[in-house]
Subunit: 233 residues, 2 copies
């Protein structure tokens, strides 16, 4: 009668999580419905709903109307990557960030890039080649194509002062995109920029972004061998 503080949705979530881990609620099985759990904790159903919704968003529960709430068998755990904003990364390490625009051209994009962005053959793009430095050392070499029809403003941007990524982050929000990473030999251009041998391994991160159906940009970022791409959780 004394203590009995109202249960918070977090405490309910944590309790349920423990029961999942210690298999009180075994993988694949149904757990009690919201009303019953609410009764157990002496709280409103909305509070239980909040707790279970949170666990479902994290991927531990599968909830379906009428069917009930089920413990996911092999939870597909997710890691999150904060899309690298090079300047921030470098400065966060206390190093001096530097940036150089190596090349700039306007014209149609090569076949491979057009395919990725689903561009018609004649579509005009801005091609940019740039190098990002940390304490004067080459850190990342990027090749980027920007679709001028979607982001006309970039044509008049001072890209010698602001890196294309920073400009786009500020001026051209995207609705969705994709990222793929792989390892490959640096090749001529990247090797020259990064100061390594053409056969040396580099981590390549390819990214594309769209604003609804309109393609914005495709970029290939080449990271020096020492770079670690870190993801959380």
């Amino acid at each position: 009668m004394a203590g009995e503080r109202a249960a918070s949705w977090q405490s309910i979530r944590d309790t349920i999580m423990l029961r999942i881990r210690d298999r009180t609620y075994p993988p694949g099985e149904l757990i009690p419905n919201e009303a019953d759990i609410a009764a157990e904790f002496g709280c409103a159903r909305a509070t239980v709903n909040r707790a279970l919704r949170d666990l479902a968003e994290e991927g531990f529960l599968d909830r379906r109307r009428k069917a009930g709430t089920r413990v996911i068998e092999a939870p597909q755990r997710k890691a999150t990557l904060e899309i690298p904003q090079i300047r921030r990364e470098v400065e966060a390490r206390g190093q001096v960030y530097g940036y150089r625009l190596l090349a700039r051209a306007t014209g149609p994009a090569p076949e491979e890039v057009r395919a990725r962005l689903k561009l018609p053959e004649a579509e005009a793009t801005l091609y940019l080649e740039s190098l990002h430095l940390a304490d004067g050392e080459a850190h990342m070499f990027e090749q980027r194509w920007v679709v001028l029809r979607t982001v006309p403003g970039i044509a008049s941007a001072d890209l010698a002062a602001v890196s294309p990524n920073e400009w786009l982050v500020r001026e051209a929000p995207y609705t969705h995109g994709g990222i793929a990473c792989h390892a490959e030999p640096a090749g001529q251009a990247a090797a020259a920029a990064l100061g390594c041998a053409p056969a040396d391994p580099v981590l390549v991160m390819e990214r594309q972004t769209w604003l609804h159906e309109a393609p914005i940009t495709y970029v290939r970022e080449h990271f020096a061998q020492s770079y670690r791409l870190c993801l959380g959780l």
Copy 2:
């Protein structure tokens, strides 16, 4: 005045999102408080709260008590990686998954691994070396250390039949972990397993997991050069 359906939290979220994109609510600025927005949409404050909370979780808004709700300047967009479960990936592509345990040993872990998992010098670990195949082709080579004190059950698992990762996913849930990716030359062991040259680039994904304070496992996964690590959003 006919239509006037009750506003759903999703529709409110979408409307606010539009206003962020078209800079009706400019970056860095405060947006109206919940009560005002609720009045505008003719709904309860809780509904607005749900909408704004969602946008805050996605990283577009910064909410603080008393201070109000502010549009984030340069939203740090996040990509999510579904931690690869090789069997699933391979089978999802319609290929036949194969797995071979190449080596197994018990003993103390090397200095570098101990440091990562913060292990005392004498801690007993299970070392596993395995190869994952797609349609008979080498796909990924992994070196793994498992802390026996945390997961004693793995000592008696049939790891020739079930890959260590699958066993751990099912039997040893973790509370947190870390992932780092980089490119490096394959080296002797990986080259032999993957059937490439020791100097060929491979994508290395290092992962560690913990159950609260107890270290579970550290793994180095070497992916053949053709592999693409794909992240969403």
